[in-house]
């Protein structure tokens, strides 16, 4: 696959000017995400109120794919009920590992820009790390990693 289909304007823009980037002082949920293979290292913080994600922020160091994915993820789940966010996490994971559903949900919207990464297996982990981390924060597990059981490239998980 020509990687230029992945490194398109929207993704480059989110990398350059990430949305919801920084700390969230009064967070109710947090998790740390690490991809030890390439060094992507991020933190996701949430403020959950009445089963709804009222506020979300992320910070850390990562490649452009991970950063843009995190930025667009925060924009997509902010103000949404937890159940909606969880469903989106699952749909995103499916899209970048198995492939896009024939009828993607409208919530996926611009995130379909990442669909092509399925053909770059060594980079899938970069795109999926923020989503793993969000999932870990929602379930109050301390951290996420792209290795071991959580490996999105491992077969049979989803």
């Amino acid at each position: 696959m020509d990687p230029k289909f992945l490194y398109q304007e929207m993704i480059l823009d989110h990398n350059k000017k990430p949305r919801n980037f920084g700390k969230l002082d009064d967070a109710t949920h947090r998790a740390e995400g690490l991809n030890p293979l390439c060094g992507d290292h991020i933190w996701v913080a949430l403020k959950v109120d009445a089963e709804t994600i009222g506020a979300i922020a992320f910070e850390g160091h990562s490649c452009a794919i991970c950063k843009a994915s995190a930025s667009m993820m925060t924009a997509a789940v902010k103000g949404k009920p937890i159940a909606t966010a969880e469903a989106l996490v699952e749909e995103f994971r499916q899209m970048v590992t198995v492939g896009m559903h024939a009828t993607p949900s409208p919530a996926l919207a611009r995130l379909t820009a990442f669909a092509g990464i399925k053909d770059l297996p060594s980079r899938v982990k970069c795109a999926v790390l923020p989503w793993h981390t969000l999932d870990a924060a929602l379930h109050q597990t301390a951290n996420a990693t792209t290795e071991g059981d959580a490996d999105p490239a491992a077969s049979g998980r989803h």
Partner: protein, 420 residues
Amino acid sequence: MNAPAVGPMTPSASTLDIARIRADFPILSAVTVNGKPLVYLDNGASAQMPRQVIDRLVRYHTHEHANIHRGVHYLSETATNAYETARKTVQRFLNAKEDREIIFTANVTDSINLVAHSYGGAFLSAGDEVVITHLEHHANIVPWQMLRDEKGVKLRVAPINDAGEVILEEYEKLFNARTKFVSITHVSNALGTINPVKAMIDIAHRHGVPIMIDGAQAVQHMTVDVQALECDFYAFTGHKLYGPTGIGVLYGKAALLEKMRPHRGGGDMILSVTFEKTTYNTIPFKFEAGTPQIAQAIQLAAAIDYVNAIGLTSIAQHEQALLSYATERINSLGGVRIYGEAKHKSAVISFYVGDVHPHDVGTLLNGEGVAVRTGHHCAQPVMQRFGIPATARASFAFYNTFEEVDALVTAISKVQKLFD
């Protein structure tokens, strides 16, 4: 290893017939990436294999294969002869005194683990110190840490300067009465630094300490003479020397190898076995338990023959010309930082493009057909020393061309434009 004089931006003439050499490597023309010709600059991770070495495997399995050191039948003797001839080829390649000083292993990692376990296990005890450098690959860190955790030995690390060179005075300062072993890399895989190993070996011996050299990134670029170096152990691997994976070498001085205990038990490493007592075989067989990588050892010898036919002096000259040209052209782009600026360097360029993460650089370069390594290069302490998580690394072989350097530079400039 001085770089030949290269005029600004003009590739120097090479003594090698690169077009003819490239024709020996089928993969270089068989593979296109994203519709573009393959520009393979990841030779430091694994080099490609010439047809002569590929064909050696076919010939072996067509005419020569059986288990070695066992049968009295024709094929077993043929295979044994080819395997032991391969050992002699390696002996001559390193200029070792005797062929029994050459042990076939799986790779350099395996060789270092053998020494850490067999030498360290027998001769090091709690409080003893092992000296390494800040340049080491994880393969020359972790086995010693395991020994530390097992036996309580201490690990001492010689620091490097901003150019990525070991600071010799600081290295020597680490030696004391408790220093019992030294294990250092010959050439840094992450930065390309060529260590002054002869001086470092002499320092170790002045303090009465045996020393091991990790030659994974050295033997394919320069002549190594273990007798001239006087090192006690030397390790290298087949697949970075245009040979197959799964075969490595450990050279050790016979007197030391004889004193060491075997690290693995099994067939072929014994003289006699009863349930009460086993008598170990002599060296090198004591360290080659079980059926070894027979075909791969024979292919390794074919790879050494191939490299010798081209000549390591011509290889070094061409690679140094590529290094000078690539360094100049990358520096002229502006905004690309090269890590590793040692005075003596092998043909490796570790770099960072602006603030673009190396994995993005690697993916985009791949889109242009250019294969480089991205990541921490199994040398995280080196990355930590320079405060970066990773680099992109172009590592050259004698079959690379100045046009391929141009393709790399063009691809990097495209990354710069995209992330502008």
